[in-house]
Symmetry: C2
Subunit: 404 residues, 2 copies
């Protein structure tokens, strides 16, 4: 008789955003006259930029012509895209990353979930708390996290690094040495980040302790301050301890287009074993490349026209972030983030729990946000709003919140 | 100090098609004047059909317009595509599969590799021999296959079901009862298949023994005979024992477009645990949907125009299959397949090994095929040619082979 992977049964409840979707659905079914503004899930709203649309049309035409049709893509992704990434995201920032250290994928969520596969199940992970749920959940599924305590909402074999207003949202080196450290900077969900010199300390710590850093830089396009690193490879020694995950979802609005990439430096090894070779093997065995049309869209992100258009798009969302942050401050809220990231992290008022504030905001302002506790126990008492709505909706949502 | 997943180190050599690509590259570099015809990897060559191209252009335009832009897709895939699949692939064949039992993905290779994750690592798999390498390799990576014996080229904890000319390529029930049975029908690599009543026996066997069948129906569009099932759900009782994997790569030429789906019936359970719920959780945690543009392309596959165009495309490839099969027979080869599948499986002449024949064909006819032994020990002494080339190349390749 076949048996299932019992680790799945350890997962409490369902995925955060599914729960939110169900709650919102229930409310809107009961209140069909209410106009709901969604500033919850980190989904973008601005259309794909014109030069990227043109590149996709062109690629679609190529697929319809026998002379230019493309079948299976190269395992690691097309050279044209990997070269554009190496040049623009790395060489331009003085990071020595070559095109063949870049693995093109269908998005950072897949990579975030899959990367743990190449590590031993005995390894111990460390995560910031609050944290993007995929890091922990994918490790639960692999059996790496021990048992779950519903009271503390913590896993026995996960090292949590609280990031709260008390430590200015900067993770501290844990007492117990982890094997794998997940860092998302600029951070989802808190919208905060750390300086390049603080990141250098993490790189030094990982190299000293034989840990590997999974560095999620999905929000790097939103960095506005000079002393913040766009890539972990700006830090000395990162190539021997860090894997970097990147997304096109937030810098180019590709949430529905699907494209991302992972950098695994060839210098990153465990004894004689190359992690680059392992990830290449995984890619070659369990993945068949991102669509040609989408890889051409990715290439257009790095064209001069694409860069100019996307700079405007990022500015549009960051203007929303400013609107939310200042609006909330005016309304008396304590707020964080929104300077180097498109997320605003607020302290819930009147000692409400995160889910109480979720319900309060949904019912009284018809605004959907994300409860901080959904990202981990230290997120309790906080709440996330995203800058990815339209400007009009963002302004309207803040008007409603101010009236509460 | 972090450690890696040691199971990866057990994998012998590199992925079959990477090895072939390297050998061909070496030969063509040394012989730049030779024109090589590739009938090796199962990649299509015909362009995407006009009505699908039109649907993609339309979807690209939608993505460029704020009013019609689409961000994250629903977890399981868009309703418009899942409904079209349920209606055309299942209801039309009297299979009771609902739209919400269908999970849209970025392709059957990903699903083939990932599906094992929801099962216990203690489960024992059975595979046909020869077999599509992803089934075995993904189980090796998960630690489910025991140790590898380089002499026999077999894993200690895998149950092999030889499919050779001696048993007419029909797998027999193994002596040891497996937990998970992989069946790819019509078969890659042999190009052969079994009748619907033979498949019913496998369904009965699985239900009786508490096994689950992973049924890969990637080639169903090539079925030409009436007594062959297009879906395992045509068999009675399949919904309590089978998961079906489907691809758009071969019926619609989507190898570079990337789309597939997996059916997990709600009735499929292990005790009280729903495999449908587990796969939904995996989808929700480690995947973020196939691109909107690609899902619209998939929808167009089921339009009247799309169906008519793809019927022609399948006929084109099956004419190639006939050309190869008859050409090889004329040249004195013993050949199989090519009737319900786009693959021709031939017995190597003069007791050559599969790789000897690969080199012989590459060097003397400049034709690339796939060595049967690359698909498993019982593939030794066989060789695969695909019908996915252009007609002109197919004819030219056969002319060269006949002259040997």
């Amino acid at each position: 008789m076949f048996k299932v992977n019992d680790n799945y049964q350890k997962l409490p409840g369902s995925y955060l955003f599914s729960t939110i979707a169900k709650k919102v659905n229930t409310y809107s079914t009961a209140n069909p006259d209410k106009s709901i503004i969604r500033l919850g899930i980190g989904d973008v709203t601005q259309p794909i930029a014109p030069s990227i649309i043109a590149a996709m049309h062109n690629a679609v035409d190529e697929m319809g012509n026998a002379a230019t049709f493309r079948g299976y893509a190269p395992d690691l992704g097309y050279e044209f895209l990997r070269s554009a990434i190496a040049k623009n995201d790395y060489a331009a920032r003085c990071c020595d990353i070559s095109a063949d250290e870049i693995f093109v994928s269908d998005g950072a969520k897949s990579d975030s979930g899959n990367i743990q596969e190449i590590f031993s199940v005995d390894n111990k992970i460390a995560v910031c708390d609050p944290v993007y749920p995929v890091y922990v959940d994918s490790n639960v599924m692999a059996g790496r996290t021990g048992t779950y305590d519903p009271k503390t909402e913590m896993w026995s074999d996960v090292i949590y690094m609280p990031c709260t207003m008390e430590n200015n949202f900067v993770p501290e080196f844990p007492k117990e040495t982890p094997d794998i450290i997940y860092l998302c900077l600029p951070n989802n969900p808190t919208g905060t980040t750390i300086t390049k010199s603080q990141l250098q300390e993490w790189v030094d710590y990982a190299n000293k302790n034989g840990a590997v850093i999974i560095y999620d830089a999905a929000y790097e396009a939103y960095i506005s301050e000079d002393d913040v690193a766009h890539s972990i490879y700006e830090c000395e020694g990162a190539k021997t301890c860090a894997i970097e995950l990147r997304s096109f979802s937030k810098n180019a609005g590709f949430t529905g287009v699907r494209l991302g990439f992972t950098v695994v430096p060839k210098e990153l090894k465990c004894g004689d074993v190359s992690l680059h070779a392992m990830w290449a093997r995984r890619h070659g065995t369990k993945f068949n490349g991102a669509p040609y049309i989408v890889q051409r869209a990715g290439e257009a992100v790095y064209s001069d026209a694409g860069k100019a258009e996307l700079k405007q798009q990022v500015a549009y969302y960051m203007n929303n972030a400013k609107t939310i942050k200042e609006g909330l401050k005016d309304a008396g809220y304590t707020v964080f983030g929104g300077v180097n990231a498109p997320y605003i992290w607020l302290k819930t008022p009147d000692q409400m729990t995160s889910w109480e504030f979720f319900d309060y905001l949904l019912e009284n302002a018809n605004v959907v946000g994300t409860p901080g506790s959904g990202f981990g126990p230290s997120g309790e008492g906080y709440f996330r709003l995203t800058a990815f709505g339209s400007y009009e909706n963002t302004v309207a949502a803040l008007e409603r919140i101010k009236k509460l």
